[in-house]
Symmetry: C2
Subunit: 479 residues, 2 copies
């Protein structure tokens, strides 16, 4: 079954995406509408993502904790924009232990409120600051249109929540974590991302300012892949998070929050995948190298299998798998592991054993071009180099793709065309009406206001209304 | 505040327990009744537990995945004993996205049902077996009387769920995982545990047989610290988990499940703690060694602090912390880290700097007896040895304590006395009425039917009714 052809990406991207996930056994639909089961292979990718991020969080001084799943409904109502943003998406527990609850409990859609409540209890003085806590958790948002990994009722994420003495420190933290996300995306997932500020209409409900990293998927649509929020004193005021400052005066804290979710697995699938299936970046791949022994009869098997096992041992510094399944042909196995996106394949047949060699095949370069013969005693070193090369090649390819599909339209008519198959970089006056018009006309939204496009002042005219515009933004349709 | 004395354990064990948790900042009460916040120091212990267990799970062939939080109410009803056991404890979501749901959703109290549903979908043939999946998850049980770590509405655990071809394989798996738990408890947590079978009345709702590890807490009560269930074909039949066997005939699978939770943090606190606070086993301690610099003035500080930093560097193979806080006295710091259970303390004062030495103090041996002077160049080696010694000493002490508080009463009158301050080992005829009588008379229950007490046939008379009894059991009051 796994050897049936996938839908061709260019013909039906959405169906390609769904089938890759199902057939590579990354995830499956749960019995409850819109919920997903993350299967072992998909979860192993997420565990590698967790490890890469968690190291970075700890290196920047953060610690992990666990806050409760249930939040009293009244908590959400304390921050006006927050409850307006999340009220339509809530799952609500009304019965506990057979009894109707006096106050309904919300299943957390995010944890600013309950964490704010605890911080108010814990923080007394400037000596307690900063508080730098992250949690790995499941959250629930009652979405109407769902999609495996991209938008599910329950999803998995980390949410960092920090409290600071000053506005400047909170802002520094907000940007620090955005940098951590970008560093992770680029250097671990080989997903090039654009860092920038969200427009007012796209910011997190309750934030002062939201920043995001945005990536271009294989169909040119954008995927918001991580967000970092400067919450100002909004939640500190709503939850009385106060501290005695260095002058012994009571002040409200400045808080931040930042999150990255299992949605990022979707980003990896859609950034790197091809018509054969997944292509996983070596640094996050659960299996970096698969070894396929090739033999036609028992005599050849007796020769080949020990060589394959020796190769497995030689490659033990990597995440390596020997596919010794009996009932399947090598060709079936090639397709199967290509579908699953294993970056590097080692083929060993009788001739290879005789020559003390093996064939290496790169997942990212199909056909003969991606193959090379290597002496067995150079296997580990060559494989290691190739994995580094593949990682870099994936990043470069994705960056080239993004560049090739990013334009600077000269006028509004061109913008409308561009966003049908790419990103448009254009000046925007800051008026939400112009933003809304683009969305209505094209379904494209302002993904963010990129830092790197706005480093130097370069005023122009709003692509929509022609009014003076200080900043350039990215318009794109998005997931 | 952390330097106030704790309640004395022997006078008020329960208050001692609560205060240790709060003051060592392991956990706090959440705003929702019965829910807890696991604070960073407590979560760091849990992360170390997770790491130790996860390695063992992977070494025994298991993989991780994630199944959904929400389970349709109808699923629970498919296994009769299961729903009877869990129905009174359920939290139920009745509203989603502002709408009343057609079918209420249960917040998982455990995941046999929804995982059974998925396994039925995934498993086709004997070639797909065994399926060996674990998940790290939060679960919710609507408990009436709650206690931090020991019994909370929401708690954190791992739940393993496996499916097998034969009854024998399922039984082998059930006992393998019980061994994994015992190995973890003994060798990582220094908590001696008794492996055994649960009586019918104490088994998991829906299991064929339940096994447990039981530990004795510092007040002699028992704590069930992990369970492993042979589910027979009960869930396979309820959820149609079927496979084509080697003769191409359709068979029901044999399944198991096994879990260990944040309750184990409570086991560590109550097994090792003393009147000064926590004592953490070195292998799981978030901080294994704390360095406290001792100085009276700036001149001494200029001498001592660099030496303390050098010691920190020398000890970098361990989880080490240098407590350089300015505003606190060394005495305060000693108490503070004792409360938090750090296994080993390094004290460095001006005299130590002059002599190129440091004072090492063991948390598990109070006063002068636990102190030794060590040359700075032998610091790392000595500290490493001491941590191993402390780990072993904690285990030995707990095992001695358990032995000293375990008796074999001669008759029922003696049993009633014994269980007031210890465990009673006695023959039991297997009749639930005798078990119930003990519970009613003494509050003690059959903790389990220990393997090691029943290796050889040693028939006797039931301690309650005098009827012939094949097996010995442990009676004890329990958490």
């Amino acid at each position: 079954m796994n050897n049936e052809k996938l839908p061709i990406r260019q013909e039906n991207y959405s169906e390609w995406y769904n089938q890759v996930i199902q057939r590579a056994e990354l995830a499956d639909y749960a019995p409850v509408r819109g919920c997903m089961v993350v299967r072992p292979y998909g979860w192993a990718i997420w565990e590698n993502i967790q490890k890469a991020l968690d190291e970075r969080f700890k290196a920047t001084g953060h610690v992990n904790a666990a806050f409760p799943l249930f939040i009293p409904m009244s908590f959400l109502e304390k921050e006006k924009e927050h409850v307006e943003g999340f009220a339509p998406e809530l799952a609500v527990v009304t019965i506990g232990g057979g009894q109707q609850l006096e106050e309904p409990l919300v299943v957390r859609p995010t944890s600013e409120t309950v964490i704010g409540h605890m911080y108010a209890k814990w923080i007394k003085s400037y000596r307690d600051l900063p508080v730098l806590i992250n949690q790995w958790a499941n959250v629930v948002r009652w979405e109407m249109r769902t999609r495996l990994f991209l938008r599910t009722l329950e999803f998995y994420w980390q949410e960092g929540h920090t409290a600071h003495e000053t506005m400047a420190e909170a802002q520094e933290e907000t940007l620090r974590m955005l940098d951590v996300y970008a560093d992770f995306a680029i250097n671990e997932a080989a997903v090039p991302v654009v860092k920038g500020r969200k427009s007012e209409s796209e910011k997190f409900a309750g934030a002062a300012t939201t920043y995001s990293i945005e990536a271009m998927m294989g169909d040119t649509r954008a995927l918001q892949s991580g967000t970092s929020h400067n919450l100002g004193q909004n939640f500190a005021k709503a939850f009385d998070i106060q501290y005695l400052d260095r002058n012994n005066e009571l002040q409200h804290c400045w808080t931040t929050s930042w999150g990255l979710s299992t949605r990022f697995v979707g980003a990896i699938i859609m950034t790197h995948g091809d018509d054969q299936g997944l292509i996983l970046p070596p640094r996050l791949a659960p299996i970096q190298i698969v070894i396929v022994p090739i033999y036609k009869n028992d005599a050849e098997k007796a020769l080949v299998l020990p060589a394959a096992e020796a190769a497995q041992k030689a490659l033990s510094a990597f995440r390596v798998k020997l596919d010794a399944r009996e009932e399947l042909t090598p060709g079936f196995k090639f397709n199967d592991w290509e579908l699953r996106g294993v970056p590097l394949r080692v083929e060993i047949g009788p001739k290879d054993v005789a020559n003390a060699s093996a064939m290496l095949a790169r997942r990212d370069v199909p056909g003969r071009e991606g193959k090379q013969l290597v002496a067995l005693d150079a296997l580990a070193a060559t494989a290691g180099n190739l994995l580094v090369e593949i990682q870099a090649a994936l990043l470069a390819r994705a960056a080239d793709f993004r560049q090739a599909h990013t334009s600077m339209p000269a006028d509004y008519a061109e913008l409308q065309q561009v966003v049908e198959n790419g990103w448009a970089v254009a000046h925007w006056c800051g008026n939400p009406a112009c933003e809304a018009k683009v969305k209505e006309d094209t379904k494209a939204t302002i993904r963010n206001i990129p830092f790197e496009l706005n480093q130097a002042a370069d005023p122009g005219k709003c692509i929509v209304c022609g009014a003076p515009a200080a900043e350039k933004v990215i318009f794109s349709r998005a997931y």
